[in-house]
């Protein structure tokens, strides 16, 4: 069976508590490959001439490599902190589009494979008060009871029996007589 045909299932997980203390940009390395003469790389060449320095200044944590190569289509390769590598073709893209793609890549956390979420939320600390245990609401007096116990085993909320009612009526009668 070809497993790549299915959506991989998983849980929502931020990379290494990112953003809890400080935010670390997950994009680490950006390789831009292009051709100096080919038409498909025109947008890329525009981008490198006019916007790349600005982009590198704004994202100082990203290492940018520019790699010219003859007669090959332009390519963006983004490498992330968790080891993910995202390859993207920039053939015939103009400089605005390339800038948008780059800003998207630098915002992502690397793992861009779509996954089917088992749950829509995730927390490492599901309980503040401590999860339920069989002993949570247990009466501590149970520790000193020798089981089986006659009183504990008795049924609760039983209706009054005929004998009990008779005894009660007699007692009431006695009380009224005494008064």
């Amino acid at each position: 069976m070809n497993h790549s045909q299915f959506l991989i299932s998983g849980f929502l997980r931020p990379p290494f508590y990112n953003g809890v203390g400080r935010q670390i940009n997950q994009l680490q390395r950006l390789t831009i490959k292009f051709c100096k003469s080919h038409g498909g790389s025109k947008g890329m060449r525009d981008f490198i001439e006019n916007h790349l320095v600005n982009y590198a200044k704004e994202n100082q944590s990203v290492v940018v490599y520019v790699k010219p190569r003859r007669h090959r289509s332009p390519v963006i390769v983004a490498e992330y902190l968790n080891g993910d590598r995202r390859w993207m073709s920039a053939q015939n893209r103009n400089h605005e589009e390339i800038l948008k793609w780059l800003s998207l890549l630098s915002l992502q956390a690397g793992d861009t494979e779509p996954i089917r979420y088992r749950k829509n939320w995730h927390t490492d600390c599901p309980s503040i008060q401590g999860p339920w245990t069989p002993f949570t609401h247990k009466n501590p007096a149970f520790n000193n009871i020798a089981f089986p116990d006659k009183e504990l085993g008795k049924q609760l909320n039983m209706p009054e029996t005929a004998t009990e009612k008779l005894l009660r009526l007699v007692q009431e009668q006695k009380n009224t007589k005494n008064e």
Binding site: G130, P131, W132, T133, P134, F135, K138, F142, F147, P148, D149, L152, G153, K154, Q155, L156, M158, T161, L166, L167, V170
Partner: protein, 181 residues
């Protein structure tokens, strides 16, 4: 998993041992209650695929009370697989052979059919009287309440209570009750 989380896990999924006194109880009604504990349905973490069932120790199974005339009318079927080896044993007969079997079968039946049933039954401990081994008693931390009151026998009541019981009239001293034929 940190050590506190691990201990939390053990605590949440810890198996509790319950004791149930079967004396004068209807085994078929009791089975429904016992099954709830065997499956762990009394816990807020219950899930059919969650192994959170408890142990139940049933004592005094010899003292069960069947409703109506079921001692003589209820038949238990058994077939060994060989031809003409089908047997129908009446409840009183089965009970005299094995005083735990009626209770066991009642619970096994009310567990419903699935693959987990035999494993759940392993957590049921039946004793015909109240002589339970000490290692079993040591585990017990809870008691399941009975479903109906245990009737009191006349010869177990104090003579003083009997004498003081309210009555409309006294029998004459020379009164002879009707002879029992």
């Amino acid at each position: 998993m940190s050590i506190t989380q691990r201990v939390q896990q053990w605590a949440t999924f810890g198996r509790v041992w319950h004791v149930y006194d079967c004396s004068y109880q209807n085994p078929f009604d009791s089975a429904k209650v016992i099954v709830k504990y065997l499956k762990g349905m009394q816990k807020p973490i219950y899930h059919p695929m969650n192994d959170c069932g408890d142990h139940v120790v049933c004592i005094n199974t010899k003292q069960i009370a069947l409703p109506g005339d079921e001692w003589t009318k209820r038949a238990y079927f058994h077939h060994t697989g060989y031809p003409s080896s089908a047997t129908w044993t009446l409840a009183w007969e089965l009970h005299s052979k094995d005083p735990m079997m009626i209770m066991k079968k009642a619970i096994y039946r009310s567990l419903g059919g699935n693959l987990q049933r035999r494993h759940t039954m392993q957590r049921l401990h039946l004793f015909k009287d109240d002589k339970v081994p000490q290692e079993v008693l040591d585990n017990i931390t809870n008691q399941i309440r009975q479903l109906r009151p245990v009737p009191q026998r006349l010869d177990h009541i104090d003579q003083e209570v009997i004498d003081n019981f309210p009555k409309i009239m006294d029998y004459p001293e020379d009164y002879l009750p009707k002879a029992i034929k």
